[in-house]
């Protein structure tokens, strides 16, 4: 009896997410075996194509835990990609310098937005909405044309394959090793580091305390403003890093890039069990949220005959399922608390 009670809503939602992901993926493997869905490489591709989004979703989870939101991340990604492409191609800068610039842009974004939210007490939605406008506009100021990246160092990073000790046989019976890119390693390291920080560090616990109830956190002697500010700075840094990973994947910068990425990140976090009201959420959940969205997309593209709008509708239906499930669980818990 005691054991079952210990499973709180946080872990319960996380478990549902993971189980759903497993069921969905195994079903895909059985149905689309002929199309190569069962190959290990197909699974790794999920990480490869979503490495940037995973990092950005981690940042989103952090601000959502404090009860805030950041809808500027898509624009920051576009801006970072564009500035990196411009710096390397048009200014002939070193790839390392370009990466530093990318991370600096993200961090600067975090500092400004964090200050406005934490110290000037402006609603996060409005601040980051302005940030979204600003990023998209600045991308166009840098260049309205698409810039493809040809820098040698950068392309070497982008094409560097890390071979896995397993693989699969192709149609001719040749063995092909499965591989990942360095972006995947970076993304997974970020997930692990952030989840440790959230779970065990003072800073992480402060975030949950503030998100749960800012008033009581303040009375407990926590510096609410400073912690909020730190959360946004960290989120901005991760958005910059995510933008860099995104850029390694696309190898180009253009104005329309990563449009709607903020909503992808938010819905991944929500599917992963993070509450927008704050105080609840894990980055592992957000990771699985990203993977679930990636699986649906690749299932639909493998199937091949469904139109793009069905992707949207299916994704939203799933989102709806999760959100309603969360609400039902919350109301059951409330009733239990009353009894």
């Amino acid at each position: 009896m005691k054991r079952t009670k210990k499973i709180n809503s946080n872990t319960f939602l996380l478990m549902i997410t993971i189980v759903l992901f497993a069921v969905m993926y195994i079903a895909g493997m059985i149905i689309f075996r002929e199309n190569g869905f069962a190959k290990p490489q197909m699974f790794l591709n999920l990480f490869i194509s979503n490495a940037g989004l995973i990092v950005i979703a981690c940042g989103m989870t952090i601000v959502m835990i404090t009860g805030g939101i950041d809808i500027s991340v898509g624009s920051v990604t576009a801006l970072v990609c564009m500035v990196m492409a411009y710096a390397m191609e048009n200014k002939g800068m070193n790839a390392y310098v370009a990466v530093v610039i990318a991370l600096a842009i993200g961090t600067l974004y975090g500092i400004v937005q964090g200050y406005l939210v934490a110290y000037l007490e402006i609603q996060p939605f409005i601040v980051t909405l302005a940030g979204m406008f600003f990023g998209r506009g600045m991308t166009a100021v840098v260049s309205t044309d698409m810039i493809a990246i040809t820098n040698e160092t950068f392309m070497a990073w982008a094409k560097c394959k890390i071979m896995m000790p397993f693989g699969s046989y192709n149609k001719n019976g040749e063995f092909q090793q499965a591989y990942i890119y360095p972006t995947v390693v970076i993304a997974l390291v970020v997930v692990i580091v952030i989840s440790i920080v959230l779970k065990y560090s003072k800073f992480g616990r402060k975030l949950y305390a503030i998100g749960g109830n800012a008033q009581s956190a303040l009375m407990m002697g926590l510096d609410v403003k400073k912690t909020k500010m730190q959360a946004y700075v960290l989120d901005g840094f991760l958005a910059g890093l995510g933008g860099f990973l995104f850029c390694l994947n696309s190898c180009a910068g253009f104005v329309e890039q990563a449009k709607g990425l903020e909503m992808d990140a938010i819905s991944a976090a929500v599917i992963g069990g993070t509450l927008l009201s704050g105080g609840v959420g894990t980055v592992i959940g957000s990771l699985f949220g990203v993977l679930i969205k990636g699986t649906i997309t690749s299932l639909i593209t493998t199937q091949g005959t469904l139109s793009s709008w069905w992707v949207r509708i299916t994704l939203s239906a799933l989102l709806c399922f999760f959100i309603v499930l969360q609400a039902v669980i919350a109301s059951i818990k409330k009733k239990q608390a009353k009894n």
Partner: protein, 355 residues
């Protein structure tokens, strides 16, 4: 301190003071730097000029801002699906009018039927949002995120992924001009929506109910208000208004472009509510503030276009102006100003004491 008659604080203390100052500031900047900014002329029997452009183009955001204000006040959150709902309404309307063709020169079905169907579709979307928010207690932004992503998909499903064109003069009226009337029709839609909302809120207790539900839902329920119903109702109204805006927007381009109708308009509508001095956390609201906010956004956009800023780069300036306006209206800034005032007063006192 016996001041008689006129008290400046009565004006500066009004809730509409700051929003009006912001609108005036944008207009004055336009008036100084753009030649003939306030000139209105009649070309080809229609009014022409920057002010007309502002009032005309702002219509959709004004209509959306009314719904957004009510939703914000009652539930303390925003409906981010309104842009997508506009696309759904436009798709339903055009698909019924075209009868399934991609481009038609005459209506396949009566116009009234199409409009009513479109409004019903939009209202249903609003009801769906309302059900999730009011009945299931889901946070507004998360609940409306579902239709935000699904809406354009549904609209494309309705139009089968095509852009449906309705090349009929009587369909263009709603986004153009009625007969010989020189004032663009969308302006009338906006005025009618504002007037109707204003009357309903002033003549009935609905406005008061919405505010009290927004301030404290549980307490409102205890004094006998059906807070679930009131929240639900605001979302239904918001959906219906999004439908109206969708039809106007579709009539402007006499087509249903599922991917672009109402794109990012939800952001403008939320911005209008915030610029109008309304708290996004719910509670007391000012409908007129939001309307002024909507016109401020369009005035800004039109002024920037008059400066020959390209549409790609427009968001940069928009972002800067928005941040400046919200900082001026923020509580922290007010406290800072009050402190400065107190310091100055203290200094004066010291100086007087010295004499």
């Amino acid at each position: 301190m016996a001041k008689t008659g006129f008290d400046i604080r009565k004006i500066t203390g009004n809730r509409l003071f700051m929003p009006l100052v912001c609108l005036a500031a944008v207009l004055i900047v336009g008036g100084i730097f753009v030649p003939d900014f306030f000139a209105v002329s009649i070309n080809n029997n229609v009014l022409y000029g920057y002010p007309v452009d502002i009032v005309n183009r702002a219509s959709e955001v004004v209509i959306l801002a009314i719904g957004m204000t009510l939703v914000t006040a009652a539930s303390g959150g925003q409906d981010i699906s309104v842009g997508a709902v506009m696309a759904v309404a436009a798709a339903v309307c055009c698909q019924i009018l075209s009868g399934g063709e991609t481009s038609v020169n005459e209506f396949a079905n009566p116009l009234a039927l199409a409009i009513i169907a479109a409004l019903i579709a939009a209202t249903l979307c609003g009801a769906f949002n309302g059900f999730l928010v009011a009945k299931l207690n889901i946070q507004p932004m998360v609940a409306t995120l579902i239709l935000f992503t699904a809406g354009r998909g549904i609209a494309q499903l309705v139009t089968k992924g095509q852009i449906t064109y309705i090349r009929v003069e009587s369909y263009k009226v709603m986004g153009g001009f009625i007969g010989k009337c020189p004032v663009p029709t969308p302006v009338f839609f906006a005025i009618a929506a504002v007037a109707l909302a204003f009357l309903v809120l002033k003549k009935t207790a609905l406005g008061l109910y919405i505010e009290s539900v927004g301030i404290n839902g549980a307490a409102s329920r205890l004094i006998g208000l059906n807070s679930t119903m009131i929240k639900f109702l605001t979302y239904v109204i918001c959906g219906l208004l999004a439908g109206v805006a969708g039809i106007v927007a579709s009539s402007r381009i006499y087509s249903a472009d599922a991917n672009n109708i109402g794109l990012n308009l939800e952001m403008d509508a939320i911005l209008a509510v915030a610029l109008g001095g309304n708290a996004l956390g719910g509670g007391k609201f000012s409908l007129m503030g939001s309307v002024i906010g909507a016109y401020t956004i369009q005035a800004l956009t039109t002024t920037l276009y008059a400066f020959r800023v390209s549409s790609d780069r427009l968001p940069v300036y928009k972002a800067i102006v928005v941040i400046v306006i919200v900082i001026i209206q923020s509580p922290a800034f007010h406290r800072f100003m009050a402190e400065q005032k107190a310091k100055r007063a203290a200094k004066n006192q010291v100086a007087e004491g010295g004499n």
